[in-house]
Symmetry: D2
Subunit: 316 residues, 4 copies
Amino acid sequence: MVNEAIKRGVVMQGILEQLILENKAITKMGKVADYIPELSKAQADALGVTIYDVHGNLYQAGDALDKFTIQSISKPLVLLLALLDNGEDRVFSKVGKEPTGDPFNSIVRLETFNEHKPLNPMINAGAISVSALIHGNSAEERATRILNFIREIARNDSLEVNRAVYESESRTGNRNRSMAYFLKDFGNIEIDVEEALEVYFKQCSIEISTRELAYIGAVLSRNGRDIISNKQVIPERYCHIVKSYMATCGMYDGSGEFAINVGIPAKSGVGGGIMCTVFNRMGIGVFGPALDSKGNSIAGIKILEALSREFTMSIY
Amino acid sequence: MVNEAIKRGVVMQGILEQLILENKAITKMGKVADYIPELSKAQADALGVTIYDVHGNLYQAGDALDKFTIQSISKPLVLLLALLDNGEDRVFSKVGKEPTGDPFNSIVRLETFNEHKPLNPMINAGAISVSALIHGNSAEERATRILNFIREIARNDSLEVNRAVYESESRTGNRNRSMAYFLKDFGNIEIDVEEALEVYFKQCSIEISTRELAYIGAVLSRNGRDIISNKQVIPERYCHIVKSYMATCGMYDGSGEFAINVGIPAKSGVGGGIMCTVFNRMGIGVFGPALDSKGNSIAGIKILEALSREFTMSIY
Amino acid sequence: MVNEAIKRGVVMQGILEQLILENKAITKMGKVADYIPELSKAQADALGVTIYDVHGNLYQAGDALDKFTIQSISKPLVLLLALLDNGEDRVFSKVGKEPTGDPFNSIVRLETFNEHKPLNPMINAGAISVSALIHGNSAEERATRILNFIREIARNDSLEVNRAVYESESRTGNRNRSMAYFLKDFGNIEIDVEEALEVYFKQCSIEISTRELAYIGAVLSRNGRDIISNKQVIPERYCHIVKSYMATCGMYDGSGEFAINVGIPAKSGVGGGIMCTVFNRMGIGVFGPALDSKGNSIAGIKILEALSREFTMSIY
Amino acid sequence: MVNEAIKRGVVMQGILEQLILENKAITKMGKVADYIPELSKAQADALGVTIYDVHGNLYQAGDALDKFTIQSISKPLVLLLALLDNGEDRVFSKVGKEPTGDPFNSIVRLETFNEHKPLNPMINAGAISVSALIHGNSAEERATRILNFIREIARNDSLEVNRAVYESESRTGNRNRSMAYFLKDFGNIEIDVEEALEVYFKQCSIEISTRELAYIGAVLSRNGRDIISNKQVIPERYCHIVKSYMATCGMYDGSGEFAINVGIPAKSGVGGGIMCTVFNRMGIGVFGPALDSKGNSIAGIKILEALSREFTMSIY
């Protein structure tokens, strides 16, 4: 039995190393995010993967320990904290639940802002609404609570905000700033707009590696139960909520394609990371800063497609 | 072992009957679709459910054998036939793959018609595009091929188009007609518009019961393998495609809420039906023509929520 | 005094001939409309102008007597007949009054269809709404009444619908058909949709020359009083209405530029015609089927700019 | 001859006083703007009018000398200064020229932001773009140059910014702030966003009376020639530009209705003022802070309708 497990581990390790090797060249077909100067400094051909299974086994290959900023992958995590802080009713009074929002009889959908709230917590406007709900007496305090929450569920107390990225985001984030003032105008954001933006820009600038993504993915795969302590660190219901968003709209407008080809809840960020969760089996973190036209790690997706095929992961 | 199975069957049967009983009153809070006169004739408090498990066991309660028109539940089924007729590349040259289509940097989403194609095959415009791809030399022939395909995967040769509903849909379907001419204008629909609409209105008017929905759901749950013959009647890949749309946008703009509360691929129709599929376990068909504000069976959803909790069905 | 008038006439004639000569080359920079085959047969370098002054003097140069289809120039004329048939209240219950429709606090304008009616009678959707209001028991009768009305106010009983253009418009007019079914869906169009479209396509296919445009322009310049009979053929109020639309949105999305550079009420059509009216002074008709990117006669606009400067015509 | 003029003056004076009397009650049907606290303090039944004719005669009735903030009436005036500072090419590289922007073949208009610029200088987004073009090394300097320009063309050196209104606008102007950051994001605004907003909020907060509106209207009616000095204070071309915007979209989405019923270039503000210009004859200023649903002075419009009828002012 032990031998069997070791053998499986060796096989898995080999597969991951093979996948890194095979997909390295694909990074050349992508493009590192350059909307802020700091992001454009990423090494374009970096590629790494970590798998954390629910038994606590860890498999890593390539640049698995490289640091990068979490960016949009913070959205589902901050949503978890917002739910813990405020409960479902209050959170969903500020942000919609729908991936698409097309009523059954619409000829053309005209607004992202339905009933004066952003469509869902995975689009930027919705994520800013959610960040504004995090408890705290100042932007600093709210951002620190987010950082501590992510440290805790990822079991890594050394995570930090990358100041250079944060300042760069804050300086150039005019589109997000525009959305935030629009939300403020109709009362969606109750705190000071610049404070909400500081929280949002800081959460996006937290530096992680694929290990943290895989670990959190594994906790989500167990519906909130920690891998090591076996303690329920997130309520099961909130895990359902977050995983359903990851599945329906976690990969920007590549979500439909990803559902067909990979078929697992996942969230990507323009820093090059993708966090995935395979029910009751494992969490997966990949990193590859070269992005496709939709903002997702181009080689990272290829690795996930191969893993899904190899281990029959699709939930569909 | 046999005794065990019988016991399980008795339990399941009891649960379904209990659920019908408990949720009957909820039908009063919904409203039968009345956009066409024929639909408004449905009995508002009807409520039925069928479960077909992958071992071929059938459980039914309430108005499980009532006939109703399939309406939008035809969308994933006609998509399967369109894929069989045309292959993936041609189908997705006419219709998008995305549930939401929000690019990662949009401030406001402005068009359902992205790159001159409807967003996805589950919205009406996309479904009409797909219907226009079904092979055949006339509307009649195309519609008959759809009917025969549904008869075959549902294993029921007696299915028919309800003429009164079809004629009513055709006479009053000006919004769909508007969309179809818009699609024609930029070359999306290649056949005659009225022919495409005839096919679409006929497919929506096929009469089924929860038995057919459960049976097809069970076939989908086995990724295309028939329950009785064990033959692969639909390619696995196409089942993945269809189930991913059902999961992300199968319940109109109640899809997000349904994903959180039920968490299984499902497709509803304004006739009151919902078709569900639980991976490798079962198909479920429910029927209750009283609809909620989003066009989904109001009591049907309650039954599915209870079943999902009871049998831990959520894929998230 | 007579000599003076003759001298002025000779001067005007010379100016028009000069303008045709000078602007002939500009036709090469435009493009004949080709969305229907019949229109694309127009002679690309044709260029003509007629001025009819309120004293009944007629000045013509170039291809002033060439026949072309009236197209969108029918919109203000059919609006006049609809007002005569139905009165203001009923007409404006079906179509909006606003050139722009931006409420003072909108961030982004999202709909042409405000309160379920087209924005104004100069856009296609609004014009189809208006055509559906013309009295008559059949499309034929309605279209004939429009033709007779235009014959009457233009004082030319020989005007006819160009059948080839009409059939071509009808066969290929899917975008207009789409809009008409959309209008029908929310009850804006009360008659049969195809009947409304037949009226609309026929009114667009009436063949005229610059003489008719100039004559009608002169009648409008006198607020509805005929040049020859001095009879009030259109109520003054309706002339105000129509001229205000011509001034604010008569030149498609070149209306703002035209207001600045020419500054008189005008309506263009993709057949190459432009009908203008100079208060209490004259009507002007120009024809040049080579269009600019906005659908207006490219050389025709140049001639009007020159005339406006030369004779200080701008109302601004 | 002198007697004749005096008689005309007496008649005019009588008419204005009569109009104030007749329309006072109508103020009750409107509503003072309350989106900022300072505006809501206006006396709801105030009503005043000034006419300045091109011979320098001044007629006033009612609350003609009441002070109120200029608000959107600043838009055409700042556009004049922006044109003087930058020339036409640069101004129109930042803001569109079109009142409506519906291309001749659109089914639904989807964006105010066409080619990444606001539609025209009369909507808020366009006005902020224009304010950002005013020369100066700081917000203070730019705002002062605007104030001085308006003082000069209105011939009133005592005009000032109302600090309380400015601060209130700045504090609550989140929708304008949202638009400004959106414009900044795609490079439309080149200066600091908060600086552009300070300029915009200050220009809106300049306090004037109907006298200034009438005087500037009279200067515009003479295409830029001052009434007293007869000097060309604004180039004729720029007057054409500004008057064409006033005519096509100067009254928010009541512009179409106003064109039909009054038919002269006019610009309103939510402070209750309307500035009008009657070609070669006069300028008119009205003030009545009770607004209709579109944001225009409800009694002010009635007075203008009566004046237009009485003196045949309509340009259509």
